[in-house]
């Protein structure tokens, strides 16, 4: 219905193309990291990740085998080295051209014989086997340099993930940080829901003086920056003996998550049909029974929305963990902190960085795609009234 013009073919095409462009723009950064996490360090530095999906054309510099050890005298004065330039390993690419000098790359086709002067020759075949022959002087010293133009197929590896997640000797691995993050996240998601649900019910369906004021206070606290809480609460935690640790970070996440939880749940509960609640009251149900038997089950969508928010927020959090959890021993480091450390110590090792980052991104992405419906609902309930 976007006007009659909206149905004309060129406009529809332009519309589709511009959306495709936007989607690609949004997808490319993540895709780059994802692809890089499956490449070796050498591959990452040799070419951009966007070329990793296609066969790569590259020039490889190799050397013929050590002549002094491998040469064979066939007839008097003629020495020959016969071997495969790629060694024992099978070469998966395709050899397209080769040369013996970097000044004249791609000079020969596979199967050609290069004349190296004074009767010295080199023949290289497409499968990598070569015959290099000449006199005693020529076939000695170091092996002849050979420049190969080869097309290599896309090559991906899972080694990075093995190294980052399962290598016991890797002190910068993500396995421990992963479990630490999980340890922070689960209680920090469940406990605020429970506390907020009761408070939200009281604010939605119970009548008492000061209710409007409390709701306004919750709305106000919704935007208080948690930066203000850092020093006062850290001193408070130290003074009651919690110090830095899991208990502190659980409490902090619970406190910081409560305003949104109460706000979302109250908004949802207010919208539940009044009849159900009043009928239950007439039937003699107490508020506690109404809450546990009627309100809680009916509020499941709102509970799920908030659970996702709180999960994503605590999983992705860096600041609260830095301040309330991670002590000097570093035993309780979380993934976000570990990645920041890696950015400092291994800034150029993109295979490690990309893989570590992706390990931490993967779980929220799965949750996101699995529960997107509830996330969208929660966003709408939390923002648009």
């Amino acid at each position: 219905m976007d006007g009659i013009a909206g149905n004309k073919a060129p406009v529809v095409w332009a519309l589709n193309i511009s959306v495709v462009a936007l989607v690609l723009l949004w997808l490319f950064p993540t895709l780059g990291l994802f692809v890089s996490s499956f490449r070796t360090g050498d591959q990452i530095t040799a070419s951009g990740w966007w070329s990793a999906m296609f066969p790569a054309e590259q020039t490889i510099q190799l050397r013929a085998a050590d002549p002094d050890e491998n040469r064979v005298e066939t007839e008097s004065g003629v020495f020959v080295v016969e071997a495969n330039i790629f060694g024992e390993e099978a070469f998966e690419g395709e050899l397209t051209a080769w040369a013996t000098s970097s000044r004249n790359l791609s000079a020969f086709a596979p199967g050609d014989t290069a004349d190296l002067g004074d009767g010295e020759t080199l023949t290289l075949n497409a499968d990598g086997t070569y015959i290099w022959q000449g006199n005693d002087d020529q076939i000695s010293g170091r092996g002849q340099r050979i420049f190969i133009d080869a097309t290599t197929p896309p090559d991906f590896t899972l080694d990075n993930y093995g190294f980052v997640l399962f290598d016991e000797n890797n002190s910068e691995g993500m396995a421990k940080a992963f479990f630490n993050t999980l340890t922070v996240v689960i209680p920090a998601t469940i406990i605020p829901i429970l506390i907020a649900a009761f408070a939200a019910y009281a604010l939605a369906w119970m009548d008492f003086p000061g209710r409007a004021l409390l709701i306004a206070a919750v709305v106000g606290l919704l935007v208080v920056p948690l930066q203000l809480a850092l020093i006062p609460l850290l001193s408070f935690h130290n003074s009651i003996g919690i110090g830095k640790g899991y208990l502190g970070v659980w409490l902090a996440h619970t406190g910081f998550g409560l305003p949104l939880a109460i706000y979302l749940l109250r908004n949802y509960m207010v919208g539940l049909p009044r009849d159900i609640i009043e009928n239950a009251k007439v039937d003699g149900a107490t508020d506690f029974q109404i809450f546990t038997k009627i309100i809680l089950p009916l509020s499941f969508p709102a509970l799920a929305s908030f659970a996702i928010f709180q999960f994503l927020w605590t999983w992705n959090d860096l600041l609260v963990a830095l301040v309330f959890l991670i002590d000097a021993s570093g035993q309780t480091t979380v993934m976000t902190k570990q990645i920041v450390e890696l950015l400092g110590t291994r800034g150029g090792d993109w295979e490690i960085l990309a893989t570590s980052a992706f390990v931490s991104i993967a779980v929220p992405l799965i949750v996101f795609f699995a529960m997107q419906k509830y996330l969208v609902r929660g966003l709408l309930a939390g923002s648009v009234k």
Partner: protein, 335 residues
Amino acid sequence: MHPALQGLITIIIGVGGCVGYYYGANMLLDKVLFPAKGPNAGRNINRAGMIRPWIFLFPALCLLGLYLAYPVFATLRLSFLERLPGNEYAFVGLENYTKMFAEPKFNEALLNNMLWLIVVPAASTGFGLLVAQLTDRLRWGSVAKSIIFMPMAISFVGAAVIFKLVYEARPEDVAQIGILNHLYLLFGGDAPQQWLQIPFWNSFFLMVVLIWIQTGFAMVILSAALRGIPEETIEAAIIDGANPFQIFFKIKIPQITSTIVVVWTTITIATLKVFDIVFAMTNGQWETQVLANYMYDKLFRANDWGMGSASAMIIMLLVTPILVWNVYNARKEMR
């Protein structure tokens, strides 16, 4: 004890404790203090009804008060104090503030934050609106929206790594692995650029990260708002011969202004608190400092609680108008 086990026990104790508290307090109220039987049954029911809301609210109010309301005042107080050796404090009045405003790094942070506050909400809302409108009648619109919404799930730190790879610069004579430099050279740039080290413009490269994350949020909400516009208004405009641009700007936008404002302010608050992105990507070097990172520097690197608290109060001060406006609106709605 293994932390995972500790976590499990905490869940059990935490959840069990909460359930136990609510159930127990409720039982105490109904069965022991004010039983709904005997000579005073009616009076008792009323009294129990007066107390019960506070039982339901008590844990939440405690945590809200302690973790959000008290720190505002404690930080305000700290911002007027100077910490002396031996856990002593001395009242210094506004000295922390005057010292802070004299610091070039603070002014840089304040200026950068202002720039962030203008660019990020505007760009995120703009892009969000654009995508919401473009995908509205598209058959594969929901897939497109999903992908643009996806960065929402990615942590700021993860996004920082993602964009560091985008901005990566390598020496001129080897292959570029950062896509931005690759495209820059492809379209006629002369040499690879260290994007994050170009003063002034590097802040924009950091902002791109937040815009990339926040656009999805704006899109989801604005898309729902666009769907909520009554069809008749659009049909009437079509019959009157309005073109698509007129429909969009003169019919649709005016009807979703209040939603745009909500989205704008929500992103503004997120922008004000931006910390992780700067912390992970430049740590405030090359003139990219922002308030939240400046505050972290003061609190935990310089260990200057007075100035750290003062800069936190500046963030609070910048949030306050939005806070007041939100509360005002919420009260208006409830009436």
